[in-house]
Symmetry: C2
Subunit: 564 residues, 2 copies
């Protein structure tokens, strides 16, 4: 039996009910997006009482398949005004799935007060947040694990979410209890904060309600897929260097965001590359680890634990997107400085992509010099203090641009671009423009596609990748499994059938396409249109050095992805 747990923050009631039959074959992003389409007034105020926050493990969550424990969190986004699914790692989806929950749906608004939602074997209840209110995520989780259970999974927001900042994310504990696996994008932390919900504590001791249509066959197939994953060469690279492995390629393509997306190569890229990070971690030793799994059972291990010069943890993990946006984009070549800003963002509960982009715009406006890492760190600290200046940064790049009179702002639908300049990685440009999520690489990363400088073929590449990603996000699978699984999708389809039943999935791609259709439908009902499927104007005209590229995929081609 798989249940929905519905939490009404207005009257502080909770109900647990069997999920309606129509949602049986949906999980993760497919489920959060469908519930939002079905239940959320598209034109509602994102931080108002009619928005809902939906949290769901993927369809394969809680199983023995590697990397299947991603969590989907969805709502109408205060940043984009459209539907959002933000996807994170950690241990929370596995715990939810094991406890037999298909989704948590948080509704209404608590007047001023803040609460914790505790879910345990005996049931779920809300308790006043008390001393936990306003805590940074690190102290918060430490305190909650003391109060509740040392191995509880925790979904939480930091002060940024409580301040309703549009760059606020929602964090999840990893397998070691480190609260740094972010559903970072789209300002969902602000939605959770607006509802008065500070954290969700998942105590799954002595519960395992994961059901299989054919358990033995599932385990056989999962074991086969796991082995393929383990042996894959791309996966091995990620295991060694983590996501920063990609930096060299992006630099080579001239698409590494540098100086607020004004250059595509950073002359000191070697200081912040995957190799540089690996070497530093190895040299410093101590608690540092170049490879680390965010969720139990993951065979990829793309995460890292980045130590300071004494071998103590500085931040974990340190990811490529953070390095691109807070490093090269700010002309900062110091991994330690980037790691410190990353730690602060994690603690305050912020999306590092959005904040890195916001600081880039602020630097262009003259609020600090590019390359001044101390000033950048100070700007991040302002957000934690909740000053108006800090709140501006925490509201994202688009708002900083509006206030500071800067039109060179790398956003789509109000959301900042990840660390691939779309003029040099045009497939990603198509994804940024046309994804229902706003600028987001995880919606359809095309970095490994052919001829990324040419506008030819990018629409098909992105459209296909968007469908694939929507399917992976719905199964709860990490996108990195694609390196091994994309070539054997029929096996993944079989696996889903042995877990959820034969009718669950016919075609992997169609499964993903259906999710995108629901999401686009919501966005259209919310007032978004093909006019919102555009990159910022300057990227069509300002040439990106050193390859002198502009974004030249035509509007008509972009519209063919979502609106024809």
């Amino acid at each position: 039996m798989e249940k929905f747990i519905r939490v009404n923050m207005t009257d502080l009631t909770i109900s647990e009910k069997q999920a309606p039959a129509k949602y049986r074959y949906l999980g993760g992003r497919a489920l959060t997006s469908q519930i939002i389409l079905d239940e959320v007034i598209p034109n509602c105020e994102p931080l108002g009482e009619f928005n809902k926050l939906v949290i769901a493990p993927g369809l394969l969550g809680g199983t023995t398949l590697s990397s299947s424990g991603r969590i989907s969190i969805g709502a109408k986004s205060p940043l984009t005004g459209g539907i959002k699914e933000s996807n994170g790692g950690g241990n929370t989806a596995q715990k939810l799935a094991k406890m037999g929950f298909k989704a948590i749906i948080v509704e209404g608004l608590a007047e001023n007060d803040k609460f914790l939602l505790v879910i345990e074997k005996t049931g779920a209840h809300l308790v006043p947040a008390g001393d936990c209110a306003s805590l940074g995520t690190y102290k918060l989780v430490e305190k909650l694990r003391e109060t509740y259970h040392g191995k509880a999974g925790i979904i939480a927001i930091g002060p940024a979410g409580e301040m309703s900042l549009a760059a606020a994310g929602i964090t999840n504990t990893d397998k070691d209890g480190n609260p740094s696996r972010y559903c970072g994008r789209g300002g969902l932390g602000a939605v959770m904060g607006s509802k008065g919900l500070k954290a969700i504590i998942l105590d799954d001791r002595n519960v395992d309600n994961v059901n299989y249509d054919n358990e033995s066959e599932f385990k056989r197939l999962a074991s086969e897929l796991n082995k393929n994953l383990q042996d894959n060469n791309v996966v091995k690279t990620y295991r060694k260097y983590g996501t920063p492995a990609i930096l060299d390629l992006v630099q080579e393509l001239g698409g590494l965001p540098t100086k607020n997306f004004s250059q595509g190569k950073f002359d000191r890229a070697d200081k912040i590359s995957g190799e540089a990070m690996y070497d530093t971690i190895i040299a410093r030793g101590g608690k540092g680890k170049p490879s680390h799994s965010c969720m139990p059972g993951c065979l990829i291990g793309c995460s890292s634990i980045y130590p300071d010069s004494n071998g103590e943890v500085l931040v974990a993990p340190l990811e490529y997107e953070t390095i691109g946006l807070m490093g090269s984009n700010l002309v900062i070549d110091d991994l330690d400085a980037i790691a410190r800003m990353n730690y602060l963002c994690n603690d305050y509960g912020l999306d590092t992509i959005e904040i890195g982009a916001a600081l880039g715009v602020a630097m262009q406006a003259g609020l600090a010099e590019f390359g001044d890492s101390k000033a950048a760190e100070q700007m991040v600290r302002e957000i934690g203090k909740g000053t108006v200046l800090g709140r501006m940064f925490g509201s994202g790049a688009a708002i900083v641009g509006k206030i500071m009179g800067i039109t060179r702002v790398p956003t789509v639908k109000g959301q900042a671009m990840p660390a691939y300049d779309p003029r040099a990685v045009k497939g990603n440009g198509v994804t940024y423009a046309t994804s229902p999520m706003g600028a987001d690489h995880t919606s359809g990363n095309c970095i490994r596609g052919k001829n990324p400088h040419s506008p030819e073929g990018q629409v098909d590449l992105s459209a296909n990748s968007q469908k694939m990603m929507a399917a992976y996000d719905s199964l709860g699978l990490c996108v990195f499994v694609g390196a091994a699984f994309n070539s054997q999708l029929e096996k993944v389809e079989q696996l889903v059938a042995t877990k959820a039943g034969k009718e669950a999935i016919e075609s992997f791609l169609e499964f993903g396409e259906a999710v995108l259709k629901s999401e686009r439908k919501f966005n259209q009902l919310a007032g978004l249109s093909c006019k919102d499927d555009r990159l910022p104007e300057y990227m069509k005209y300002e040439k990106l050095g050193p390859n002198n590229l502009v974004f030249d995929v035509s509007d008509g081609e972009l519209d063919s992805v979502g609106y024809l």
Copy 2:
């Protein structure tokens, strides 16, 4: 011969050419909106090189008809993302018309530099702004009148426009050279600033190129209409008390914005009413005047010169909307304090409606106490200083709400509401929601309509008023002539025929309707839809005291105005 003067700020070229035949019968708002629809890429960046600023006198500009010298300034708005026409008084439209100009079209962007556009009998030229850059409007105009001619008409921006702030307006000199007749709304000052144009100097000495189809008949009809206007009772009230005459009525209806639009009556309304202002002006004497005409030949004289306790000018004029937004909306009952803030806004080049609303939201967020006029004045001064805090206020109410986490923000399409709470004045609510301009009373004020508390009939009332206003705005006529002219529109139609030719206008209402259609078409091409024709969510649910009203005109009815 009526000409277009086209100024390209990118290459600093100017051309004067006869206006194309298709624009022959268009003037004012009809002309600015049509040129924008024809020439501006709807989806362009409002502060980028593809937006255009269009300035046009009305079709009756420069004539002897009273109150016919309103100026229309249009562009794509950085505040609403849609088309904008902002309409102002003063002497600039009359001068443009007399010089034979149908429109000034400002295109492109000047790199960093700032310029003045000088238009005189011998031609037009751009000169570097030099010391004029960054000046407040009062010093600026004083300096320009010294440099050029003591009676030159001036269209200018203050520092707010130069900072690209979305609440920046464009000011026009009045007949005495006071630069306080604002095309205030929609952030057009930021558009002018983005183009690097600080001011336009109009020296119309020894020129009078106003042409008539039938001059004698025009003068006969104009004289008849002028007399009706002079004798009209509503007009007499405006002449005595100015626009604040309306305050008592709005208070009576329970629609006076109080405490960030949370109450509809202000318990100290009598201290800021039209009568209070009149009594103060009379009692203080000196340079104060309860009645004053902003343009030569105006028989209404709704403006005022508000003196300080020594009889020196504190600000001129002091208008109802400013009193509502910076007075009751901030729980401030001190006309002097309101006048000081008004003066600062005029000097910095800001829309007092947008700033009053922004401060209301900021006070709700706790940045100052409601009723603290010193703090409010200090907040306005921050804008002049160009601090991040000030820039936030100067970016308007919607942005302040986003940064400060406040969802009770009285805006439509990002633009702040004027001083009529739409829950108590529902016709204005329909106008705010459905006007292509965003929340704007001048697009269709229904304050004198029947049963303003009832949702019944408001759609028809507003739709009709919007057509009327679009027509008046296109003729260059002040809306206040409506009190006398609305009952004799056939005479106005005849008058237009004697000025511009028999084919100029068939029906006054259809003339206005055509303008609205062009504007809605632009907005749709820019990505706006019926989903943007909505009031803020809270106004549908939060009851406005003391009459416990919500805005209950249905979405379907709203859509019938623009989208059926």
